[in-house]
């Protein structure tokens, strides 16, 4: 499970990625930041979250194309994305895999996703770096 121990807003450098308007509500979009593939998700409240684009359960870079939803986890309503490939479900805030649907990750990848801090300033979506966890490295093969 990812632990947010460093307050990212303080230490991070911010990269402007796109306008909030460029993102469709309750869907994802892929973004290329420092040569890495990210999946950005705009939620119903217009907040934006970012996780790795690579699906650890198949290796393909497709998570931005999953269905965005919510799931009850211990009395909390968690925003989620389901992989478009084989339906594994991930917590969009922490990257934690909530349901591996009986499968194991491929290529030695971790089941939980790497996440990035995101903020929206004056309608511009900015992604913070460095990453807040040491999950698997993204990037093209």
């Amino acid at each position: 499970m990812t632990v947010l121990d460093t307050p990212p807003a303080v230490t991070a450098t911010w990269t402007a990625v796109c306008r909030l308007d460029d993102l469709a509500p309750e869907r994802g979009a892929a973004a290329l930041v420092d040569g890495e593939q990210l999946a950005l998700f705009r939620l119903v409240d217009d907040s934006v979250l970012a996780v790795q684009q690579q699906d650890p359960f198949c290796g393909a870079f497709v998570l931005s194309r999953g269905i965005v939803g919510t799931r009850h986890v211990a009395d909390e309503v968690v925003p989620t994305v389901a992989s478009p490939m084989h339906k594994q479900v991930f917590d969009l805030r922490t990257g934690a895999c909530l349901d591996p649907v009986g499968k194991a990750p491929v290529l030695g990848l971790a089941a939980d996703l790497r996440t990035w801090p995101v903020r929206v300033v004056d309608g511009i979506v900015e992604v913070g770096g460095p990453a807040v966890s040491d999950g698997p490295a993204g990037g093209g093969a």
């Binding site: 892929a30 290329l32 497709v62 269905i67 919510t70 009850h72 093969a141």
Partner: protein, 861 residues
Amino acid sequence: MTQHLVVVGGGMVAQRLVEAMRDRDADGRWRITVLAEEPRRPYDRVALTSYFSGRDADDLALGDASLWDDPLVSLRRDDKVVAIDRAARTVTTERGRTEPYDHLVLATGSSAWVPPIEGADLEGVFVYRTVDDVAALRGYVEQLKATKPVVRGAVLGGGLLGLEAAGALQALGAQATVLQVGTHLMSTQIDLGGGEALRRLINGLGVGVRLNAMTTRIRPHRRGGVGRLDMADGGRVDVDVVVVAAGVRPRDELARAADLVIGERGGVVVDDSCLSSDPHISAVGEVACIQGQCVGLVAPGYAMAEVAVDRLLGGAAQFPGADTATKLKLAGVDVASFGDAFGTTEGALEVVWADPVAGVYKKLVLSDDARTLLGGVLVGDASAYASLRPMLGRELPGDPAAFLLPEGGAGAPDLELPDDASVCSCNNVSAGTIRGAVTEHGCTDVGAVKACTKAGTSCGSCLPLVKKLVGTELAKQGITVSSALCEHFALSRAQLYDAIRVAGVTSFTEVVARFGTDLAGRGCDICKPAVASILATTAPAHVLEGERAALQDTNDHVMANLQKDGSYSVVPRIPGGEVTPEGLITIGEVAQEFGLYTKITGGQRIDLFGARIDQLPLIWQRLVDAGFESGHAYGKSLRTVKSCVGSTWCRFGVQDSVALAVLLELRYRGLRSPHKIKLGVSGCARECAEARGKDVGVIATDKGWNLYVGGNGGFTPRHARLLAEDLDTETLIRTIDRFLLYYVRTADRLQRTAPWVDEVEGGLEGVRAVVLDDSLGIAADLDAQMARHVEEYEDEWRATLEDPEKLRRFASFVNAPDTADPSLAYVPERGQARPATADERAAAERGEPVLVAGTTLEVRA
């Protein structure tokens, strides 16, 4: 040493006996020979009437056919036993075979009883007992229909069988009148009040009923065949065909000749272990006179078969008494009777509820303290039958009247059935056995429980209860098979469909607000596509319209099929598989230009693989410009209508199958449904289009089209079953319209038509009643809904290309729309590209010479 068991008769009970023996006799103590008069394997006589619609005698097959391949079982068909030599312990058959036995079982059933009146042997007078009887009746009526505009049929006898026969006559296109000797219909099972309600229901189906109508003579027509019935009261009835359903008589002739003890009203007298007066001979089924009576129902026969087998294996089983509960199998008329239906028990009380307007009559018979259920009659609405029957002899919880009120009223209290309550009387399965199938044998759905326990595999009337028990048991184990869609909706897909349709809501937010479990919930990968699919037919709009875009699976969202490496495949529609050379060239050019791997699909079209998300609009611009449109290969929707070349070219074709296929494909294109739908059209009975492997299969006949439904290939292949015959094109289309929309409205998420037909109310018969006879009164609504679909259809790719807002969704990266996904890599194989494997990628990264490239790189350079 192996002993030899000889069974006389190859009917339903014989089949069960052999099955039970092979199930339990693990050491092979008994070798079994079945000597059968009929020329076929034992079949489901109870479902005989469906032979009119199913047509295929194979559809009546009972149990697992491999039973007859068992080396210890031998079945001799078409060889009647003519004598038993008890002293020598042998039987002799008509063909002269002599078979020695260690033990003999008589399972010869009954024959239809024909009253000894003049003319009963005329041509055109039929009985209704075997496949051959039914085939002969069908042939006769069809022959009459060819020359007469109206064929008048009469059924002598207003019991269960007579009413079923009247329904069958009507289904064959004849008029039907039931002549009942007594004061009311089904007088063995129901009382006068119920009979009166039943008569109204039967009349409502267009079947005539005459009571107190004793036929004294059958008169020939001057041109041959039957012509008229003379009645005892001096009246006459003109007829062209007569079915005698006046009762049955046990076939005890062999036993009589062998001097076994015979019952007062016939039948081989047996004790509770099914042994006759000869300890080497048992009798089971309808031929047995057990506890003083012969019972004309299959469930007691099955119970006897189990008892006889147990005894042969050294057990001490006893016949538990006959369960005489019955349910009429006539579409549109719900009648059931069970237990002491006439209230003959001392001090019995009756609770009656009648609604003459709705044609409903219900009665419960209770013990003198009004608590213990003794029996009942349900006419017009027998929905409570499955749950009440197992409560026989037990105390009902709460007010008994609650069970009689219409459904949706106060509601009957939930019955917690005791483990020993019999749920499926055909197969003698108790509530405990069904629970055990879930708790001990790991069954997780009704299908598995049916296979494991046999419950619900015969007449099917217990299925609602089986479903409920399985559901409850699974829920107790924390396995939610509740029909709830997911955590966001407590409704099943069918319920949600109705709710959305009736409420007229058009957006996901409204749907969540009205029907969701939690306002804060925003759906998931299960309910969102389901709601998108429902809205697509209740409130049609583009897949990417507003909030709907957020509901779609990636396939629907980009209108292409996601492949394993994250690229997509593209399938333009090729209606009926008919394509011009120019069209083929365009597809070839597009594939070449974008470096797409090209393959012919099983649905007679062309699949182009390896398109990047950002290439999709470019590819489609080319295709749309050349006149192609979306093939919906990505959608849970109509896929293709496969066809053979048909009468325009084929030497054998009798109809233009391609023209019909094109028409159907253009009609149903884009229709969103619970799962994919495939159609097929063949130009003659040779069936080159393999239409019976499709959800909807159409096969040309000399007179029109035969329509089959519920077929599919895949994991559990199924042949489609006949829904209607010789339809003209207009009726065919209307029927398919209704079939598809009835499916769209009521199927579960991801349920294909085959399991849907099995599970929907009334099975195939029920579907037929809805789409052909409008039994639910929704046909006009379905027709209007399909008309709207056809009217409002637009090519969703064309519409997308015309809308810059929608095109923005196809960017590879939101901040670098011109950069192609760097992760995609391909290697050549047999002259085309395929995704590189992990090893090949690794090798390329190490700098080894493996050809790895994005699809378009080579060709575009």
